[in-house]
Amino acid sequence: MKKIFSKFYLALILIFFYLPILYTIIFSFNDSRSLTVFKGFSLQWYERMFNDRNMMQAIWYTFVIAILATIISTIVGTIASIGLSKSRKALQLAIEQVNNLSVMNPEIVTAIGLLMLFSSFRVIEKGFLTLLLAHIAFCIPYVMLSVSPKLRSLDPNLAEAALDLGATPWQALTKVIVPQILPGIVSGALIAFTMSIDDFVISYFVTGNGVSNISILVYSMSKRINPSINAVSTLVIIIITVVLILVNIVPMLRKKKEVA
């Protein structure tokens, strides 16, 4: 009896989480403008999406920025974490605090800070580049939070031993340290990617010149009913689901292979 109740409860929670997602997918195939009555199957909203330059551009920017921000922030964050692990305690603490400030800050506070920074020092025009810089800025602390614990549990003599055995510092870095902390780097990159794809608030404040990502597009279009948004949403849902399933299943398969 108790078991049935608990399973029922969890099922309700899952329905709650997935109902709006299913709803979006179903209504992206709706034949009418209505978001409430399903009139029949059609692909017209997808057709409109592919013909709408703004939409395609927003989708393009979202993924280009997410990929670039992930690559750059993972590399920079990893390098900084390794450097920090060999630095003085004071510097370690200071950067840790600054990173915490960035992670704990309400998004809107980070957003207005960056907005004022970019607008005051007009070195670069607001648009693609400011968007990318902002994404790199909020992604790096997450990468470091994921890499640093791995470095801490690493034997500090390992790099030294490599150097003593005749490795160059570059070899010690790429052949000894990086392979050891790789799981941290990968999960950091994954967090960075999702943070970037998901971001609305910071992007919304720092962008300009008509550059927008999917979040900004949905926000600005939702003032009027536009079922094409459902088509864009469905696309996002499918891509994210596939990525997440791949990320979860590939390591499992690899493990099985190793066992076999």
Binding site: K7, Y9, L10, I13, L14, F16, F17, Y18, L19, P20, Y23, T24, L35, T36, V37, V76, I79, A80, I82, G83, K86, R88, L91, I95, V98, L101, N105, P106, I108, V109, T110, I112, G113, L114, L115, M116, L117, A137, I140, P141, A159, E160, L173, T194, I197, D198, F200, I214, S215, V218, Y219, S222, N230, V232, S233, V236, I240, T241, L244, N248
Partner: protein
């Protein structure tokens, strides 16, 4: 080793420019008035006095924290049993549930919020269901209730995952010990499981309260302009009127209130932990 230490310097400079400097700018603008001339800057509390004497803004502030608080409480009440039941499942199902609960959080929040717009509209799915039940039709879009509902939807997964990860860390021998000492299931829950899961609840509260108190996109989309939160006021100052001084001041007020509430929550947790030890 010194060579490796140097690898941290570029990021240190980057962090000063991209994280510290923006925060200093918020402070600077919050404590100065218009005329963005650095040379003749005058420090003042005018922006803060303006907010604390303006009833409309005080009301927005109160509404924001009321909504964030209600959202957080609902997330604990719904999320705790979910996490608890999840922790009792078989290993295979636990991993599946973890994946199923994480997946929606990966999907863009705007996309998830927009989905509710259609469902909550008059004549929409919920309205129709309420109609069959004899409660509706009801206007839901544009109400505080709908904003809270969608916030719970967006933030509940974080609460569940935090509490769950704390619960599975628990050593089950404590429960056996409690049973051996004659505790029934209710007693052993309230005196063993619940206190041990509190750190998870606390970090869940942090992950829900913080974004709930500062969001502006949910209130804008679901509230349709009739539910104004601090986030909406800040957005207005920066993107419509361009008054950075007042905007910075209210952001600072919001950040300070959030930090104080977080601090109090953590302190309450520590105190109860101390008491537990004393008992």
């Amino acid at each position: 080793m010194k060579k490796f230490a140097r690898m941290a310097y570029p990021y240190a400079i980057w962090a000063i420019v991209m994280i510290v400097l923006p925060m200093l700018m918020i402070l600077f603008y919050a404590f100065s008035t218009q005329g963005n001339d650095v040379v003749q800057v005058r420090l003042t509390l005018d922006n803060f006095i303006y907010f604390l004497t303006e009833p409309v803004l005080l009301k927005v502030l109160a509404t924001s924290f009321k909504i964030a608080l209600i959202t957080t409480v609902i997330c604990v009440l719904i999320g705790y049993p979910a996490a608890y039941f999840m922790a009792k499942l078989g290993n295979k199902y636990q991993n599946l549930m973890m994946l199923l609960i994480t997946l929606p959080t990966w999907i863009n929040m705007l996309v998830r919020t927009y989905a509710w717009l259609g469902m909550l509209q008059s004549g929409g799915l919920f309205d129709t269901v309420l109609g069959y039940l004899g409660i509706g039709p009801k206007q839901m879009i544009g109400t505080e209730g709908a904003v809270i509902f969608v916030m719970v939807y967006n933030f509940l997964p974080f609460m569940i995952l935090q509490i769950y990860s704390q619960l599975i860390k628990m050593d089950t021998s404590y429960l056996e010990a409690a049973a051996d000492l004659g505790a029934d299931r209710v007693q052993s829950f309230w005196r063993v499981t619940f206190p041990l899961s509190l750190p998870g609840v606390i970090s869940g509260i942090t992950l829900v309260f913080l974004p709930a108190a500062s969001t502006f996109q949910i209130s804008q989309l679901i509230g349709q302009g009739s539910v104004q939160l601090i986030g909406n006021v800040i957005e207005n100052y920066f993107l419509t009127t361009g008054d950075w001084n007042k905007g910075s001041a209210i952001s600072l007020i919001m950040a300070v209130i959030i930090i104080i509430s977080m601090y109090l929550t953590k302190k309450a947790d520590k105190e109860s932990a101390g008491k537990r030890r004393a008992v």
